[in-house]
């Protein structure tokens, strides 16, 4: 954080340069676990957007009040509160999605992206910047998960967001919606991202 970025730059870094999944390899557990369909990846992303933006806002506002000795417990309480809110809201209003995401919504608590942003950014920056950073990071996360989920759903079921894309003669590649499919697809996506980056920097 030596050089102050513009607001746009603060937002955009989350989408590519510091993309939490593709570039920093953070939050891989939910990434691998829930992306067996586009909608699951997308909903997980939305839950993270909510949790990250809300926690970053609160932490950034309270950054001068929180003593640094207890900052981690405080962060955890704040994050856990918003995760619980997200979890309960999903269970109450979108029970199907809540069922599909299973235990991974409560597990957002230990998602390194959220903790990492509080520690590295929100606790050191004014609230405007913290929100924009949180938005960029979580939207970057959401986009990545949606793409990952779409690829897996397309090859593994033949649909994207439950819309039939492949011709009916297409035999789904079951492995893509199974756990190995997550590792294969994510590995290839990270590979492609590195390749693009290598070309850009050249």
């Amino acid at each position: 954080m030596a050089t102050k970025k513009s607001y746009a730059g603060e937002f955009l870094k989350g989408l590519w340069d510091e993309n939490p999944v593709l570039r920093m390899q953070l939050g891989l557990c939910p990434t691998l676990a829930v992306t067996n369909s586009a909608i699951n990846g997308f909903s997980m992303g939305l839950a993270v957007i909510f949790t990250l933006v809300m926690s970053s806002t609160i932490i950034s506002l309270a950054r001068n009040i929180i003593p640094k000795e207890v900052r981690i417990p405080t962060f955890i309480i704040v994050i856990a509160t918003f995760v619980t809110i997200a979890d309960k809201m999903l269970a109450a209003y979108f029970p199907d999605i809540s069922k599909a995401l299973g235990p991974f919504v409560p597990l957002i608590v230990v998602n390194c992206i959220i903790m990492g942003r509080q520690e590295a950014f929100a606790s050191k920056n004014p609230v405007g910047r913290a929100i924009i950073d949180a938005l960029g990071m979580s939207i970057g996360f959401t986009i990545t998960l949606t793409i990952l989920g779409s690829i897996r759903e397309l090859l593994g079921v033949g649909t994207i967001f439950a819309v039939q894309i492949m011709p009916s003669s297409f035999e789904p590649w079951m492995v893509m919606v199974l756990q190995p499919g997550a590792f294969l697809t994510l590995g290839l996506m990270i590979g492609v991202a590195n390749w693009i980056n290598a070309r850009r920097t050249k």
Binding site: E171, W173, M174, V175, M176, G191
Partner: protein
């Protein structure tokens, strides 16, 4: 024998072996360790393409029998698989900026081995997908021939098994053009406790994958490889031996529940796996002691899967599973360099 084998796996394989085997030495000494090799140095005519084509030749009896057994269409399956493998090899090498002047035949072998492990009625386009996966993901992503951890053909098969498991377990009866489904000897024992006569098992007049049914012809090809020293005899001996002993133990405990050891040896893809896949130079250990550990491990995993797993057959997974341990085995069983101080 080891001297004979070392020049065989010339180039990349040797490089890998050295770097893997002596990380400590590499730190202390210098990069020159790569080039040093203890005498005697032996001139040899063996090289990678020669080995690959010999292995392919050794597979031919089983392939021809597969075509005779399951009909002409399996020949097309094999062709599709081989062509897809070769095309993928060329394309990926281009993408990686590598020269493809000297085709080493390894892609042909991978495609052929993959096809031999497919059920006879398997759709040809899917066989091609398996080959693409085997070469691109199974081999080239790791850095090409010599760097791959897992046997590419089996990785391709594992991908197909996970993707199209229904088609991968639909078996056609021998010589019936109109896809009559049947069960493999292992399947019928596991699920219905029906034994297949030994003679049929040995000759290969049974349901199963294209190239795995005739134990006799695979053994002939395998022994040819052993004589040419292109395969380490310790691997089939320890693999088959472990299966025989362990399978026999369980059979003695409860002959009702578990099949006898002879049945274990000649059913499924064990012979093909033991002679042609587990012995893959790149993905098997380099030290004699390591080879024994590897073979025994293969046998244990196979018996566990066959007797207690959900699947009737476990050759593929036993080999892939033990492949993962090969770097570790190499590390702990490496030969002491003469004069190296004891720790």
């Amino acid at each position: 024998m080891e001297e004979n084998k070392q020049p065989v796996s010339e180039g990349k394989t040797t490089e890998k072996k050295e770097t893997k085997a002596t990380p400590a030495a590499k730190e202390k000494k210098s990069e020159k360790m790569f080039l040093l090799r203890s005498s005697p140095h032996m001139a040899t005519t063996d090289n990678v393409p020669r080995i690959m084509w010999t292995v392919i030749a050794a597979l031919m009896p089983a392939v021809v029998y597969g075509v005779y057994n399951f009909g002409f269409s399996v020949l097309l399956t094999i062709l599709w698989s081989v062509i897809a493998a070769v095309v993928t090899e060329i394309v990926t090498n281009k993408m990686r900026g590598r020269d493809m002047k000297n085709g080493d035949g390894s892609a042909v072998l991978t495609g052929l081995l993959l096809a031999m492990t497919l059920p006879p009625g398997f759709p040809k386009a899917y066989a091609a997908i398996g080959s693409v996966f085997a070469i691109a993901i199974g081999k080239q992503i790791f850095g090409g021939l010599g760097y791959n951890i897992f046997n590419p053909a089996l990785l391709g098969r594992a991908f197909l098994q996970a993707s199209f498991s229904v088609k991968m377990t639909t078996w056609t009866a021998p010589v019936s053009m109109d896809a009559i489904t049947t069960a493999t000897p292992l399947g019928s024992f596991k699920f219905e406790k029906v034994m297949t006569p030994y003679f049929d098992l040995f000759m290969g007049r049974i349901g199963g994958c294209i190239g795995e049914t005739s134990a006799l012809l695979i053994i002939i090809g395998g022994i040819y490889l052993l004589i040419k020293k292109y395969a380490d005899w310790r691997i089939p001996v320890s693999y088959l031996g472990t299966v025989f002993i362990l399978g026999g133990l369980f059979w003695l405990i409860n002959p009702e529940q578990y099949p006898d050891p002879v049945f274990h040896l000649f059913s499924g893809g064990l012979m093909l796996g033991a002679f042609f896949m587990a012995t893959d130079m790149v993905t098997s250990p380099v030290t004699p002691r390591g080879t024994w550990i590897y073979g025994v491990g293969l046998g244990i995993v196979l018996i566990v899967i066959r007797l207690f797993g959900g699947l009737p057959e476990g050759v593929m997974y036993s080999i892939l599973f033990m492949n993962a341990f090969v770097p570790l085995i190499n590390r702990y069983t490496r030969l002491k360099i003469f004069g190296e101080p004891k720790k």
